[in-house]
């Protein structure tokens, strides 16, 4: 396993941010950590990066406890954080080349490091900006540079924290292509956080839903969809009053409905719930503090 997390807990003062997070990620897997703001996504990823010490729990990243990871371990990780505005006076190529050279000592015949600077600049689509000052880049270009810096050492494991925040749809599409290429061609394991379900669905082999400091769902996008398949929402009006019902088998429910009321039913609507509905429902239920029976069912 590239990442192994068991019963991870994090407490700030008297506030528990993570209460017992469990998950794993295998080689070459793209895993999305999905959750609302403040769910503990960034805290989790920062613990894995070795930037934060957990309060309790078992964590192994590339077989090493991040709290004791040395520089050779660090050389195998790529890190892209949320808000970087550094090195504004450097030029794009200058900085990428400079940072890449830190990895030359960790090059092996099996895994040559770092990436060729110009190739990498082309990969992230910054060729025409290679000699521009970093402070003059737009938000999306800046983000692509951050990703380039994150992968310049050809990491075995890449962390992306909200990688597409502030991207326009086009830049987002390009970025998704890049992530696919990295995982397919380089065999990189990628852990990304996002609060955008559509993005998680597009990118990830597996989605972990983090809410209220716990993983409340873990599965491939297909598995998650299947969990909710069949659940539909039926709305109708009967004698002037509006009704809503969530049914496992909408067809049978509607048949039943008409058997009971031969007339008087109008404005009938049957809507299949989407993955997004499930996600929203999951998170909402969790935030309102309800019990965990449903989560267990979902797993």
């Amino acid at each position: 396993m590239v990442i192994e997390v068991r019963d991870l807990r994090m407490r700030y003062g008297t506030t528990d941010v993570l209460h017992g997070v469990d998950f794993t990620a295998g080689p070459g897997e793209v895993v999305a950590l999905l959750g609302p703001n403040g769910a503990g996504k960034t805290t989790t990823i920062e613990i894995l990066e070795g930037f934060r010490l957990p309060s309790d729990g078992h964590v192994r990243v590339l077989g090493v406890d991040p709290a004791t990871g040395d520089e050779a371990w660090r050389a195998r990780l790529g890190v892209v954080l949320q808000s970087w505005r550094d090195h504004g006076r450097w030029k794009v190529r200058e900085l990428l080349h400079h940072l890449g050279r830190y990895y030359t000592s960790y090059s092996t015949s099996h895994q040559p490091r770092p990436f060729d600077t110009d190739e990498l600049i082309e990969t992230v689509g910054l060729t025409e900006h290679a000699h521009k000052k970093i402070s003059s880049l737009s938000g999306g270009q800046r983000r692509r540079l951050d990703v380039a810096i994150g992968i310049v050492g050809k990491p075995d494991l890449l962390f992306l924290d909200e990688p597409t925040a502030g991207f326009d749809p086009h830049a987002r599409r390009d970025f998704h292509d890049l992530v696919h290429r990295l995982s397919d061609l380089e065999g990189m394991t990628i852990l990304l956080t996002t609060h955008d379900l559509a993005e998680a669905e597009k990118l990830a082999d597996r989605i972990l839903v983090l809410a209220g400091g716990r993983i409340i769902a873990d599965g491939s996008p297909e598995q998650l969809s299947r969990q909710v398949e069949g659940k539909s929402e039926v709305r109708w009006t009967h004698d002037g009053s509006r009704h809503v019902h969530t049914a496992d088998d909408a067809t049978a429910f509607v048949r039943d409905l008409f058997r009971q009321h031969a007339t008087g039913i109008s404005e009938l609507e049957v809507r299949r719930s989407t993955l997004e509905d499930t996600y929203m429902a999951l998170v909402q239920r969790h935030e309102s503090g309800q019990t965990s029976e449903e989560e267990v069912a979902l797993r």
Binding site: F51, E71, R74, Q82, S83, R85, H87, H98, Y102, S105
Partner: protein, 283 residues
């Protein structure tokens, strides 16, 4: 090549690059301003005489300014850069790269040295046209000056790093370095002889590096007769080395621990918090 050696080399490369970036930027207005200010002071002092000496006041002030400039830059420069780099993520970036912290610290030291050197030349070169203190100083004098300036820098550099580590924002870092420095400069006999100060202030000044860096620079460049205008009427080289040395030793003992602790705590969430705080600040 060994990864750490490589990181040190990259640190030097970083320092030189950032110095070059700074040379071509608006930072240099600061140097232009200091150069002009120094020149103006020297111009008005060129004919004032100092009691007990046949040298002009300007001849005393020029070396004093060199010593003062060095300790000032060594404290305020790193403090400002470190706190800015914590806020903008440079430090976190260094943390994410293998041996990146080594490269970062070497880079900062190299850049501070180059900055200090350029700040020195900006005062010295125009100043020489008014008072040629180098003419009679000889090679010994110049070597002495270099030694004093190096010691002065070492006495404050680690404290600058500490100030940049313990403060929450660049503004805070400037506050705890700039204000005390201004006060010390005023009482340390840089722009007029310290003998004009009340005795207790003289005592306070002699605890800190500003006075001694100025004293050492004067001792290196001025003729022996000029010592008559100093406290005690002589050059106190041993005391100077002692006070600057103690500041340097204590600083270098303290700084690594504090830097390490600061670096360990540095995380994306902390940085984001500082960023939000900076955005909220009323401008």
């Amino acid at each position: 090549m060994n990864a750490k050696t490589q990181a040190i080399r990259l640190g030097v490369d970083r320092g030189v690059r950032e110095f070059r970036h700074s040379m071509g930027s608006s930072d240099q207005w600061y140097n232009v301003f200091t150069g002009l200010a120094a020149l103006t002071v020297l111009w008005f002092q060129r004919d004032s005489s100092v009691e007990g000496s046949d040298l002009s006041l300007a001849a005393f002030t020029l070396p004093s300014m060199l010593g003062m400039g060095m300790v000032f830059g060594a404290l305020v420069g790193p403090a400002g850069q470190l706190s800015t780099n914590r806020e903008d993520g440079t430090l976190l970036r260094a943390k994410a790269v293998p041996h990146g912290m080594v490269g970062y610290l070497v880079g900062r030291t190299v850049q501070t040295s180059l900055d200090s050197l350029s700040g020195l030349l900006v005062v010295l070169v125009p100043g020489l046209f008014l008072v040629n203190v180098l003419a009679n100083a000889g090679v010994d004098g110049v070597l002495g000056l270099i030694a004093v300036l190096a010691l002065g820098m070492a006495s404050m550099l680690p404290w600058g790093a500490v100030a940049g580590s313990i403060t929450k924002s660049p503004g805070g870092a400037m506050g705890i370095t700039m204000l005390p420095m201004m006060g010390l400069i005023a009482i340390s006999g840089i722009f007029y002889p310290i003998t004009a100060m009340p005795g207790w202030l003289q005592g306070v000044a002699q605890v800190f590096p500003v006075y001694w860096a100025g004293h050492g620079a004067r001792a290196a460049l001025l003729p022996d007769s000029a010592a008559a205008a100093e406290l005690g009427g002589s050059w106190r080289i041993l005391e100077m080395v002692g006070v600057l040395g103690v500041w340097a030793v204590v600083g270098f003992l303290l700084a690594p621990t504090i830097l390490r602790r600061m670096a360990r705590r540095e995380s994306g969430a902390e940085m984001e918090q500082r960023r939000q705080a900076a955005l909220q600040r009323v401008r």
